[in-house]
Symmetry: C2
Subunit: 301 residues, 2 copies
């Protein structure tokens, strides 16, 4: 039995994951208090202990972290949301407290990519990049069925690649930035053509709804996202030579509306060799990708 | 005994390469006529035959090509300078003509990177990118002592990554473009401060000479190169997480003058994790890198 744990900025989600990718007994813990009361790792270990008591069949536990990890995958080396955990020897500490249990840790976006490989709906995808478009832009690469993590362990961080504006991809197409761009366009839309003017609290969901109805400004926002994604992917494809792109995260249901501009940029700047069999698809795991991927760490050989 | 062959746009250089990386019996063939007279591969095979007759101890032959190769490394799939060779089954053809000889083919910039690993002066460098700055900008990555070629075989083509101007790195810092930029700056230098005004045929060498004497405009050209290299490397490092960069090619003796701006951009856009132990050094093999690297293909396991 495998326990998957997805650590976020303010909470940790636990769940028992079957070999078929079904999640049961999932539970979300608020983690703000963990740092002050005994330290984050101790609190995490306490909750792990509770799960192990309740499910003695657990043999492996995978944990995804929203930060950079050491090459030997024993600790995190950069964790902006929970700085106190930096450099704590997470895996050795958990190993000594729970002998006999296999612990694996990994970056959360890389977990999500691995989760798609083990539990996703795109069968036959052995080589791809998963780009998760949310508040942040995370990504992970699966190469020949295994995570590709680069030389030192923290590669495939494509959200932090510079775009033509001098800002990173994440600073351009993170959900907040897309909403901000929509507001910018609306301020210029003096003839009030867009129905987004009538939306009280503009959010990614309302942009998507209006885009699907053909709203010009909502579509312009997606064209903008497609441009940045496409131009950044030119560099990623030139570097990794992969031709399968999965898009996950909050914006991913809109992928068909983002794709045309993304493809246009890719075809403009890449020879046919790279684009002839290029596929861009929506990821299949949605919100549980991180948790499932953390569990998949235990399945990886 | 190993024969290395470095195919260029208009010539092919042959050379016997010892296990210590010494080149002997090297010979350069003009290849313009090869296409019309019997085809490129036939002419190449004829010259290979001549070498084999003269040196019967040759057991392996590595050939570097200035283009993209098939994933199975049997043929080239994109070769702008010699389009007729595209899709010809180079390795099977040579195998059937010369049974018992091992043939390996690879992209020329990747060869150069591998050559540095086997024959270069940077001992202990097992993970690095070699960027060759010449008319074109080529690159190759060595990861754990082996070539990293990406999923489908044609990754690490960083010269073709888009920069903030919308042009590729090669279109910005290829030698011709640097000379063009110098001319642009000189046209604006109305007070004739730069001694480059007195150079009759401005070329990369004269820019380097004047930069070393402190000429402001020559140094400005290198600052410009450093900016583009640094900003592009931000993305490459975020993707591959390597921290050793070798610079080769015609401009590489000037690397110490290019480095400050390159480092400034890297440190501006990357967390300390990526830059703390970052090294940028001049490659050691100069003009023979391609030939030596082609030979090194035979040494690679």
């Amino acid at each position: 039995m495998i326990l998957g744990i997805d650590i976020g900025g303010t909470s940790a989600k636990f769940g028992i994951v079957s070999h078929e990718g079904e999640i049961s007994h999932s539970k979300r813990f608020k983690t703000e208090g963990w740092i002050t009361k005994g330290g984050f790792i101790n609190n995490l270990a306490d909750e792990i202990g509770n799960y192990l008591k309740q499910f003695p069949a657990i043999t492996g536990i995978g944990i995804g972290w929203p930060g950079l990890l050491s090459g030997d995958r024993k600790k995190v080396v950069l964790l902006p949301n929970i700085p106190s955990v930096k450099d704590e020897l997470i895996v050795p500490l958990l190993n000594s407290r729970f002998p006999g249990i296999v612990f694996k840790i990994e970056n959360d976006a890389k977990c999500a990519a691995l989760g798609e490989y083990y539990f996703g709906g795109h069968k036959g995808f052995d080589n791809y990049i998963l780009v998760t478009l949310g508040t942040g832009v995370g990504s992970g690469v699966v190469m020949k069925g295994k995570l590709f993590i680069g030389v030192r362990g923290n590669g495939t961080e494509i959200g932090h690649i510079l775009t033509h504006t001098g800002k990173t991809l994440e600073e351009q197409v993170g959900l907040k930035n897309l909403v901000a761009y929509a507001k910018e366009l609306l301020a210029k839309d003096v003839s009030y053509k867009s129905s987004l003017h009538t939306v009280e609290d503009l959010d990614p969901k309302s942009i998507q709804e209006e885009a699907e109805k053909g709203d010009e400004i909502a579509l312009e926002v997606y064209k903008y996202a497609g441009r940045f994604l496409g131009e950044t992917m030119v560099g990623v494809i030139r570097t990794l030579d992969l031709n399968k792109i999965l898009i996950g995260g909050g914006i991913s249901p809109a992928i068909e509306l983002i794709k045309p501009e993304m493809l246009a940029k890719l075809k403009k700047h890449l020879p046919a060799y790279y684009t002839d069999e290029l596929e861009i698809k929506q990821a299949t795991l949605s919100n549980d990708a991180g948790l499932l991927g953390a569990a998949a760490l235990i399945l990886e050989k």
